[in-house]
């Protein structure tokens, strides 16, 4: 495709959600009023996110897959000369999949909310916040200027805060505060690191910095160490890395369904993307020093996440299913961080693959758990399962089947998306980059391997307790019972049409990525090779 068209497409992908957010606050024009104002604005959300998805897909089609390492669709305009900030946009093989994933998940969330709007104040604000959130995440993946990256990073905070605080469940205020204060503290520290890079190198341009083309000489070792430490803390809070993860379970548990989906599906990716895009190429020496620590924290995170999940899934622990999936995210993101910390092409490719896979699978799981809560009124595992098990296979067969599919995909079974990323990350740890301590990384690899076993353990227990279970009473005909019924032995409504629409793309992509990983790795690998090779 013509480069100018691509340029406009990328600008549209970033800009349209913002325009849509403003438009959502205005009264709808005649002819687009719909049945009532609420329906009109929700439809507006679906339309805008749909157009953005279409633009992102067109961008992916027009993307020159022969040269995924080259920045494409680039725009470079001077915005604030005083701070040397440029409106520099562009995509390569690393950012394109994340861009499409974000557009897809947001569209599915908008679609899902159109049919199942979370309880809370007016949908008008909901749609506006959702679109602002989308703009912030898309911008994070599309900008190539450190200050713009920071701006985009901050842009998601306010919408996410309000989504949790206004449309969330129990404990929403405290969870929303924890989320925003934690991440803000992290990102302000990150700002200091970014400014240090900018001040010492004389530019904020990521591409120039990655290829050491800054106006001044290459960053000194001390500067790199300080910068990686500051930036790393900010990104690690977002990712989240153990022990900075404690905002995550609360935020996920309290957030409305679409909030959880977006939080897990795309917001966490902003942290790991930052590591790959900023820390690895711009400050390789500093990253080299801190990589073993990052890997150690990642390995602990993997074990910690799985153990927390195992504790939650126990009978009588009154574990919350949403919380369990949140903790499983800590474990999965641990694999991503481990892959990055190996600093090898294999590991980083695995990390990027696991990023996408986690977005698809955990997005699906959060969707389903949210819907389960709508159906049964609770996500408390003990309340759900009763004494024998929730028996979703019997009460809502398709729903139960899809949930089991999500759980199995999440535990990383070969043939589904969850497998490749984690395997490659561990593979990278088997032979880390030159200069990194191999015995240490071997230990982390063993720990990660142990983590996969524990992960399989708790996810199968979830399937056991939620999908399987006691006898279905004969008289309850499927589909006739109202929502929120008590006791495990009553039939539940099975997958509704809008749920098929929102979830089947995720399931299909999970299978596709599992069977044809080359489609994704072919995009990321050349770009990763270039980033690790000093931009050449």
């Amino acid at each position: 495709m013509n480069p100018t068209a691509l340029q406009y497409l990328l600008a549209a992908v970033v800009g349209l959600p913002l325009l849509g957010a403003v438009a959502a606050l205005l009264p709808s024009p005649p002819g687009l009023r719909g049945r009532n104002p609420d329906q009109a604005v929700l439809r507006h959300g679906v339309t805008v996110t749909g157009v953005v998805l279409a633009a992102a897909l067109a961008l992916a089609v027009g993307f020159d897959r022969g040269h995924p390492a080259r920045m494409q669709a680039t725009t470079d305009l001077s915005w604030i000369p005083a701070l040397r900030i440029h409106l520099h946009l562009g995509v390569d093989g690393i950012s394109l999949p994340l861009l499409v994933l974000t557009a897809l998940l947001t569209f599915l969330c908008a679609l899902y909310s159109y049919f199942a709007m979370p309880t809370g104040p007016s949908p008008k604000a909901f749609v506006a916040l959702l679109l602002t959130l989308e703009a912030g995440t898309l911008a994070t993946f599309a900008v190539l200027d450190l200050m713009l990256f920071f701006l985009a990073f901050e842009m998601v905070l306010i919408p996410m805060y309000f989504l949790i605080a206004r449309w969330g469940g129990a404990g929403k205020q405290a969870a929303a505060w924890k989320f925003i204060l934690y991440t803000l503290l992290g990102s302000v520290v990150m700002l200091l690191g970014l400014l240090l890079i900018g001040v010492k190198s004389g530019t904020f341009d990521m591409v120039a910095l990655a290829t050491d083309n800054g106006p001044k000489a290459q960053l000194s070792h001390t500067v790199q160490l300080l910068a990686v430490l500051a930036i790393g803390i900010g990104l690690a809070v977002k990712s989240p890395m153990w022990p900075l993860h404690s905002w995550l379970p609360d935020a996920h548990t309290a957030a409305p369904t679409v909030g959880s989906v977006l939080l897990a599906g795309v917001l966490l990716k902003m942290g790991t993307y930052g590591f790959v895009r900023i820390a690895l190429p711009i400050t390789p020496e500093g990253m080299h020093t801190f990589a073993p620590y990052l890997a150690a924290f990642a390995a602990i995170g993997i074990i910690y996440g799985s153990l927390a999940c195992l504790a939650l899934v126990r009978k009588g622990a009154a574990g919350d299913l949403k919380r369990l999936i949140a903790y499983s995210s800590v474990g999965h993101m641990g694999f991503v961080l481990l892959g990055i910390a190996t600093m090898t092409p294999t590991g980083v490719n695995g990390a990027l693959f696991a990023n996408i896979a986690h977005g698809l699978i955990t997005g699906l799981l959060f969707f389903m758990v949210g819907a389960l809560k709508d159906r049964t009124g609770s996500t408390d595992l003990d309340a759900l399962a009763g004494t024998t098990g929730a028996a979703l296979y019997g009460r809502a067969p398709r729903f139960g089947g899809l949930l089991a599919f999500g759980a199995v995909a999440s535990l990383g079974i070969p043939g589904l998306a969850g497998f490749w990323g984690e395997m490659l990350a561990m593979f990278g740890a088997f032979r880390p980059a030159a200069g990194l301590s191999r015995p240490a990384f071997l230990t982390f690899m063993v720990l990660a391997g142990l983590g996969t076993l524990l992960t399989a353990g708790y996810l199968l227990l979830v399937v056991r307790r939620v999908c399987m279970g006691g006898h279905l009473t004969a008289e309850a005909a499927p589909g006739e019972e109202p929502l929120a019924v008590e006791g495990p032995a009553v039939a539940l409504p099975d997958l509704a049409r809008h749920e098929y629409a929102a979830w089947s793309p995720l399931a299909a992509l999970t299978v596709l990525a599992g069977l044809w990983p080359a489609a994704l790795l072919g995009l990321t690998n050349p770009a990763v090779q270039q980033l690790l090779g000093g931009g050449n």
Binding site: A82, L83, P121, M147, L151, I158, L184, L185, L192, L195
Partner: protein, 521 residues
């Protein structure tokens, strides 16, 4: 100018009289002249026509701001020493012009806020406008003064009317108490500063900043070093008080609460601008050789100020009467801490003009959004005189635009998108600290930004919360029963001006941030 200089050089008689560049001194002069005109006119205008005085004052401020335009080509100076055309008392350089613009535009917004406050609270119109304009004239004079005597005079011209303005609510105990508190602590600071200035004069033999700077590097007698050092320290203390830097900040909350709301807004922006420009002038222009002393001192002061201000703001009880103004008062102390950071950084770098620009850029941003926040507070105070934070609950349902504007202003102050200008203004301040190698100060500021976010966002969240829960506890007259009072035109203009400026600046931050990249002094 050049003919006068030639004349002065050629004609020994002419050199005895200073030539005055009236165009250069127009901004403070117009403000002062209109102030006098309003005071005299007050005697002849019948009581029913008093509001007219307000509009005269507003037009006067606009004229004073417009008189900055011919000066933009830069570098005009006047009241120079005869025979030394570079040693002048009044310089209209870019720094002076920017601060004068901030002062006059801020005073204009204050005046727009005041029009209805005067009417509602029955304040004496003539005195009010006279005092406000005089104070603005002093504040506009200050950034252009380049000798210590003019600086002190300008500072007093800006401060003395402010005492009276704070105490203008007759019969209000809070107001008189606030005025007295403000007056006593301010006078103490002035006395200390005068002592410092006299020490400096004794040690260096000059009042002109450039000569003081020169003399401080080679004192005529080395034994004067102690005297000069004491003079530097004491005059710094005086200006630190005006900026409400900790530990000289105790007067702020009570003064703001007691003063009429527009005056609180005025003090929070113009009062601070005065203190900062004075501080910048004496440190960077006057005492560059003492940078190793005032740099660290100001850095400590900055850290202390922002921490004290933000922690106190955090501890405000939203149910307490006047908690909104109290919170804005403490937050302005915190913001003063951020403003001090680049001034401190200027003591560490070779090119202090660059760091100063960050303070100027931040002050411009702060001026716009803080006045905007006060304007909304004035709007809410019309129907809820107690002005508690809880009174803002559900403002979005009652006045959506006002709520969105206040949310925007608060997020600008917090420095989070959509307040992009606030974010980048903070980035320039951080950047100056990192540039100067003040990593510890940058980290302290980072923590403070997070603390500040908590209370700003809490207030923002209150705006959009439903009013229903509050109905039983407070609000004797619910928003539905009370007829929605029309918003007066002047107040609307002030809010709209601030909001439009904030939004334009968020789209094009370069408009103010360019000051952070160029050398102003």
């Amino acid at each position: 100018m050049s003919p006068t200089i030639l004349l002065a050089a050629g004609n020994p008689l002419a050199s005895l009289a200073q030539s005055v560049d009236w165009v250069a001194i127009a901004p403070p002069t117009i403000a002062a002249a209109v102030a006098l005109a309003v005071l005299v006119a007050d005697l002849f205008v019948p009581a029913t026509r008093k509001p007219l005085l307000g509009w005269v004052a507003i037009v006067g401020l606009v004229a004073a701001a417009l008189s900055l335009l011919p000066l933009l080509d830069g570098g005009r100076r006047t009241f120079c020493l005869t025979g030394h055309p570079t040693v002048c008392s009044y310089v209209a350089d870019p720094f002076a012009l920017v601060i004068q613009f901030l002062v006059l535009a801020g005073a204009l917004l204050t005046a727009l806020l005041s029009v209805d406050t005067l009417k509602d609270h029955d304040l004496p119109a003539g005195e009010y406008w006279f005092l406000l304009l005089s104070s603005a004239a002093g504040a506009a004079l200050l950034p252009a003064s380049r000798d210590l005597a003019t600086l002190v005079i300008a500072l007093e011209v800006a401060s003395l009317p402010a005492f009276a303005l704070v105490g203008l609510r007759r019969g209000d105990r809070l107001s008189s108490e606030a005025a007295l508190k403000f007056f006593l602590s301010s006078v103490a600071a002035t006395a200390v500063m005068l002592l410092g200035v006299s020490f400096l004069y004794a040690a260096t033999g000059s009042l002109h900043l450039s000569r003081v700077a020169h003399a401080l590097t080679h004192l005529p007698d080395p034994r004067l070093a102690t005297l000069a050092g004491a003079g530097v320290a004491l005059s710094l203390v005086g200006f630190a008080f005006k900026t409400a830097a900790a530990p000289f900040h105790f007067w702020v909350p009570d003064t703001y609460v007691g003063a009429p709301l527009p005056i609180a807004a005025y003090l929070s922006v113009i009062g601070k601008a005065v203190g900062f420009s004075g501080l910048i002038l004496i440190t960077v222009e006057g005492f560059p050789s003492y940078a190793d002393v005032w740099g660290p001192a100001l850095a400590v002061l900055a850290a202390l100020t922002m921490t004290v201000g933000n922690v106190a703001a955090l501890r405000q009880d939203p149910h307490r009467a006047h908690s909104a103004v109290r919170l804005l008062a403490w937050s302005s102390v915190g913001q003063a801490g951020y403003l001090l950071v680049p001034v401190a950084a200027a003591g560490y770098v070779d090119n202090p003009g660059h760091a100063i620009g960050s303070t100027v850029a931040y002050a411009l941003m702060y001026g716009v959004v803080n006045l905007g926040a006060f304007a909304i507070a004035a709007l809410v105070a019309r129907s809820r005189p107690a002005n508690r934070i809880t009174d803002y609950r559900g403002l979005y349902a009652r006045r959506p635009l006002a709520a969105l504007a206040l949310g925007f202003f608060l997020l600008c102050l917090a420095g989070l998108p959509p307040g992009i200008i606030g974010l980048f203004a903070k980035v320039t301040v951080f950047s100056s600290a990192v540039d100067a190698g003040l990593a510890w100060l940058a980290v302290v500021m980072a923590v403070n930004v997070v603390i500040a976010l908590y209370y700003y966002l809490q207030w923002t969240a209150v705006l959009f919360r439903g009013a229903e829960a509050a109905e039983g506890a407070v609000a004797p007259e619910g928003p539905e029963d009370a007829p929605r009072a029309a918003v007066p035109a002047a107040l609307t203009t002030a809010i709209a001006l601030a909001a439009v400026l904030g939004i334009v600046l968020s789209g094009a931050p370069q408009l103010v941030l360019r000051f952070a990249s160029g050398a102003l002094l």
